[in-house]
Amino acid sequence: MEVLDILIQANFWAAAVRIATPLVFGVLGALLCERAGVLNLGIEGIFTAGAMAGWMAVWLGAGLWGGVLVAALTGAGFGLLHGVLTVPLGLSQHVTGLAITLFATSLAYFTYRTALPDIATPPRIEPFRPLDVPILSDLPFIGAVLGQQTALTWLALVLVLVVWWMLNRTPLGLALRAVGDAPEAVDAQGLSVYGLRIGAVCAGSALMAVGGAFLTMSAFDAFFFEMVNGRGWICIALVIFASWQPGKALLGALLFGAFDAFQVRLQTEVGAVVPSQVFLMVPYVLSILALIIAARRADYPRALLQPWFKGQR
């Protein structure tokens, strides 16, 4: 098989979309937080907590969508913690975020081990299955790519539209963007800066947690320690690549998914000539390159990382 033939395989693009899905949730979540002016480095831990909580809920009999809800609420809970610490208390967003990652990861593992102290392999759940969407699944090529995707991937795609619409077409979106650019203006309008920021961090963290839940409820059917494996951090880079735009966030996630799907295929094709580690680097190196190009025109939210205190100039 020629290397370029890989790129026209439907299975290749299906893999790219699968790999991209948790990233789409994560980037959208990070985007919401940062648009409101709060960097959320808790993302990696929130992914882990969401992966654990969602899977555990399903295993306990909550049903798949119940699991998604539990994951989202878990994420929102950590978001609330991050929001309270960084918004009204104005603590360092970097340090708080990293602490949230450590705390959420450890708490997820602790809960898992306490609930299942003596098991050889984690219990399996019945995960989301590929969704047969009428008309779309019948299209040539597109159908073969999208026909392999589960309901959560469709949810991610719909959420891109919803977040875009919310940010650009609703008063709430206007207020949210304003609170990340000029919180004093939002305050002058009589809106609550704290409320908007904390709300955005909670909503964003809920999305991140659903991204984690995708790993245990769709991509796989059980929770393992360390299975998030850096996917959260990728989202932090992708949100800059996306220049805080939902559409570009989807594009960035798909691009990363394609790089990763390409690298596994390349590894089996020409692995005899080039060491495997080179391929494992490829998605990250390409992401850095893409970032360098995109970041030059990146439009940072003006008040990102800046705490705002009422009545203080």
Partner: protein, 354 residues
Amino acid sequence: MKNDWGARLLGAALIAHLADWNRQMSEALRLTRRACVLAFAWALIVLSPAAGAQEPLAVAAIYTVPVEQQWVSRIDLALDEAAERGDITYVFSENVANTDYERVMREYAEQGMDLIVGEAFAVERAAREVAADYPDTAFLMGSSFGPSQPNFAVFDNWIHEPSYLTGMVAGHATESDVIGMVGGYAIPEVNRLMHAFMDGARSVNPDVTFLVSFINSWYDPPKAKEAAFAMMDAGADIMYAERFGVADAAVERDVRAIGNVIDTADQYPGTIMASAIWHMEPTIDRAIEAVREGRFEPIDYGQFSFMSFGGGSLIVDEELVPAEVVEEVRAKQDEILGGFFRVNVNDEEPVSDG
């Protein structure tokens, strides 16, 4: 304390003073405990001179991954069994970071463990140095290198023999003559088994070619699954399932798989044709006996994972593998057990056939 999670949660630097308080507390507790033990020992000596001999050994294990991990689960199983027999008391710490490994080793050694079991793959030099500081404690560590004086014995999952046999099964079964292999890290103990498997497949089917990839993680089932899908897209019709996730991908595409280290046949019925299983019991039981009898030596326990010692075995699903293949494989197994056939050891990183 059965695991190290409490310590991990406390691990953040901001509660260092709390940890310090904790240490003082445990110091105090240990003193009282030591006093109790001394009193108890004295009472034993006075009251019944012969009773001391059969006290269970204190064994601690330190794992860098969770106990669910394939390799570690086999050690945990063997130690659990020994504990159930009453030969040992068993505690373990899992998911210990390699950077924290020395500290945990020292903590257990300071607690007066008789035997410490673990894995030194990322801390080979440091682990040997710690062991040398505690000559009264026996160390039995998974390692890619050799044993060292005075008390550092090594072991590993030397199941290249059953891996060779599973390779024969795969070589017969493949119709496309393409076999896919997904590994965690390209380290000697992974490479060795892959090469043995490949040799076995080639011995019965010279036309077979291999697709090999590594995901550089022990635990990323979604990623392992994607790697497996990619290989099946490229024509692989038998998957060597070294990691969780590969067999799941095989099930989804209705392709057969070969298991490794643990028996997952009941989780994937109709998919796993054969598995090379590792048994840690022969190694652990010998080490426990040696420590108990005061003749523990820093030797390479690796050979006790060979088939002839019962450290490796082959499981074949006879519903998926034709009878004549089973017969051929069993005949080869007899040759191995009889000492007439040696499986080649090759620690090089395997690569795809170009």
